[in-house]
């Protein structure tokens, strides 16, 4: 039992108790206002980096990535600026100008925080992705949202908006939601059985009804999200969906799709379909973000479907509170590298 779980029911309304805590501890939730430190960000798909430098900011800090004789480099300055002698050297790189860097799961992971604390053991463990990477190009996507990463995580944990914003059929009867968390992650699982199959897939699946399970696991400190969806009968979605906070108004998600039980053509098109869905999300996230940024302390109201979103806010606020006091450490239950396969598959 995690530290958080032990006292969670007091603040987050339980799924079974409707209206128990309409206005929750969300008044101090201020997305885009605090940069959480000491974490790895999968800033770019490493196979997409060549000799030409790419800029991938994190929390407004520049990170230039390029390859030098095949070896990946991550610096605060572009190589051209380095040649001209313009050198940034912040505390994030301990004055060296070069960020701690690791290549894993096909990503270049960059450490944001105190370089002395950087350890590859703190890179989140991603099930379903080979450690060496080498995934085909059509597995990779790159989606930019016009909002802070907290709202993207909130959106991914909120599994009920899908029925509405991405609505192909509106109501889902009998779906159940379960939420769990540690001091670093929030996991939400949603099950529904006997749900109508979307019209377009009916002929192929030869079925009218299907059941599904969707699991979202969010690493709160970095916004790295693991999405797992399984439709019976139907496809299985295994995605890594990082939400890299470039600024308070911009989040880059360097997505890896790993779709199973799908035709090759559909697998090739999935990064494009990802954009279609992201576009619908961005339609809501963009105006939402403005209102959270210029918030004057109003509180959000919640229904019993928002348990995961509230748990995220709670974990996030506790991290912010600890980091304000200078505590950037990971608690024993929050090891990012723990194996989450069972957690995801069990739900």
């Amino acid at each position: 039992m995690s530290i958080l779980n032990s006292d969670a029911p007091a603040a987050a309304p339980s799924v079974a108790a409707p209206d128990s805590a309409l206005v929750s501890g969300t008044a101090n939730f201020r997305p885009g206002r605090f940069a959480l430190r000491n974490t790895w960000f999968p800033v770019v798909h490493s196979r997409l980096v060549g000799r030409r430098p790419v800029l991938r900011p994190i929390h407004g800090q520049p990170i230039y990535l390029w390859r030098e004789n095949g070896a990946l480099r991550a610096s605060e300055d572009s190589p051209r600026d380095r040649d001209r002698g313009r050198l940034r050297a912040s505390q994030l790189t301990a004055g060296t100008g070069f960020y701690p860097l690791a290549e894993r799961y096909g990503y270049a992971w960059v450490w944001y925080g105190d370089p002395e604390a950087a350890s590859p053991d703190l890179i989140p463990r991603i099930p379903y992705l080979p450690e060496a990477g080498n995934l085909p190009r059509h597995f990779l996507g790159n989606v930019v949202f016009d909002c802070s990463y907290e709202l993207v995580c909130d959106n991914l944990l909120d599994l009920t908006h899908a029925d509405f914003l991405h609505s192909w059929q509106q109501r889902v009867a009998g779906s159940e939601i379960s939420v769990s968390s540690t001091s670093e992650t929030v996991t939400v699982a949603r099950f529904a059985s006997d749900r109508p199959v979307p019209k377009a897939q009916r002929r192929k699946l030869k079925a009218d009804r299907q059941s599904f399970r969707m699991v979202t696991l969010v690493h709160v400190r970095s916004g790295v999200c693991i999405l797992y969806g399984s439709y019976e009968p139907g496809m299985s979605v295994r995605m890594l969906h990082p939400a890299n906070p470039e600024s308070a108004t911009r989040t880059r998600t360097t997505v890896t799709f790993n779709m199973q039980r799908l035709s090759p053509l559909a697998r090739h098109l999935s990064p494009l379909a990802g954009h279609q869905i992201a576009c619908q999300d961005n339609w809501a996230l963009r105006p939402q973000n403005q209102r959270y940024l210029r918030s004057s302390g109003e509180q959000d109201l919640n229904s019993r479907f928002d348990a995961a979103s509230l748990r995220f806010r709670k974990v996030y606020q506790e991290l912010v509170a600890r980091q304000r006091l200078g505590d950037y450490s990971y608690l024993p239950d929050g090891d990012p590298a723990r194996d989450v396969t069972a957690e995801i598959e069990r739900g």
């Binding site: 206005v23 206002r33 605090f34 430190r37 929390h59 912040s90 004055g95 004057s296 959000d300």
Partner: protein, 367 residues
């Protein structure tokens, strides 16, 4: 360590600090505002209490419309029975503007999670996925504002509490006993001028401001003004020269053609009605002008021209063509802006009375 390095360390920390600092600042600000407006109440518009025009009735169709009024954003929509409603333009759930939603039989539905709100009370009527026996909590509501439709405009009450039954959205002037069913001309312009100056400019010389000097007179004042103040507003009667032509000093103007006009304004909102004699066809022409303040220096001006006799329809037809030409020449907003600028230096008894009434209202509110 070089100076450059030290500077860049400071800037690197500065970003994190500025996020922190911004947080600190806004949290004190939020504590203040939270104590001012606890929970969903009626939010302050930063405007005088009154009926403020937010749109033409005909602008509200099947989809909701977001309007900025003073310091607030409101959403106006027409329900399926045809009644207009206005709510605060923010879902209390995840803050999406409700103007991005849909009108359904249960009310106005947010586009993100489908929470639906009743237009009259603001009460949440529907949350998708609830069990059939479950009802949304009575505490889930958005601020709803009283609405009235008159003379083709939709008005929103901005005062605290229910609308004052004595307050009238329009000045009592020139409304025909039997409304004429013929053609009316509408116009809209977004103007870069503050609301108070525009409303004074329309009281002084609506003809020049709206490009209707051939109807209301836009040049020098020949007769008047005759100013009266009553409960419904400030009224000014005067005759102005129709042509505002350059004049050789000490000589008579080239044309002495003057037009009479009567202009009345509601002091709080600047809702203005001007009545003029139709130059052809007999009868009168009535012009209703609504001002919607959308920022400190931004006002949306809407006007509606109606003729009260068959013959005066020629006038509205002329207004249509002249208006189209002015829109093409991009002169509509420019003329209104020039009029608002000119009012700063004008000496006019009607404007003096208007300012007196406004100052008295503010004093009353303070005491």
């Amino acid at each position: 360590m070089s100076v450059r390095e030290q500077v860049s360390i400071a800037s690197a920390d500065g970003t994190a600090l500025s996020r922190e600092a911004a947080d600190g600042l806004s949290s004190t600000a939020s504590a203040e505002s939270a104590s001012r407006t606890p929970g969903p109440g009626r939010e302050p518009f930063g405007l005088a209490a009154g009926w403020w025009p937010v749109s033409f009735g005909s602008e509200l169709g099947d989809s909701p419309r977001g309007v900025r009024l003073g310091a607030r954003e409101v959403v106006a929509y027409r329900d399926q029975a045809g009644a207009a409603h206005t709510l605060a333009d923010q879902c209390p759930h995840r803050r999406l503007p409700l103007s991005m939603g849909l009108v359904i039989p249960e009310g106005l539905q947010c586009g993100y999670h489908g929470w639906t709100f009743d237009g009259t009370s603001g009460q949440c009527t529907l949350i998708p996925n609830l069990r059939p026996a479950e009802k949304p909590s009575g505490r889930i509501r958005v601020p709803a504002y009283p609405v009235v439709e008159a003379d083709g405009f939709v008005f929103v009450w901005t005062g605290p509490g229910p609308a004052d039954p004595m307050a009238s959205p329009l000045p009592a002037l020139g409304a025909p006993a039997v409304p004429y069913q013929g053609r009316t001309i509408r116009g809209v312009a977004k103007v870069r001028a503050p609301h108070a100056r525009l409303s004074a400019a329309l009281l002084v010389n609506p003809g020049a401001a709206l490009g209707l000097s051939w109807l209301l007179g836009g040049g020098g004042e020949v007769l008047g003004p005759e100013v009266t103040v009553d409960t419904s507003g400030v009224t000014a009667r005067r005759h102005r020269l129709v042509w505002n032509l350059p004049r050789v000093p000490t000589f008579d103007p080239v044309s002495n053609w003057a037009a009479p006009s009567t202009v009345a304004t509601v002091p709080a909102t600047g809702m203005t009605v001007a009545v003029a004699d139709a130059p052809v066809g007999g009868g009168t022409v009535r012009i209703v002008i609504g001002l919607t303040p959308t920022g400190l220096y931004r006002t949306t001006v809407r006007w509606r021209i109606e003729a009260h006799t068959e013959g005066a329809c020629l006038v509205t037809e002329a207004c249509r063509w002249v208006g189209a030409a002015r829109r093409l020449a991009r002169r509509v907003a420019r003329a209104l802006e020039a009029a608002a600028d000119a009012v700063e230096t004008v000496t006019d008894p009607a404007v003096d009375r208007l300012r007196e009434v406004r100052a008295a209202a503010v004093g009353e509110e303070l005491s």
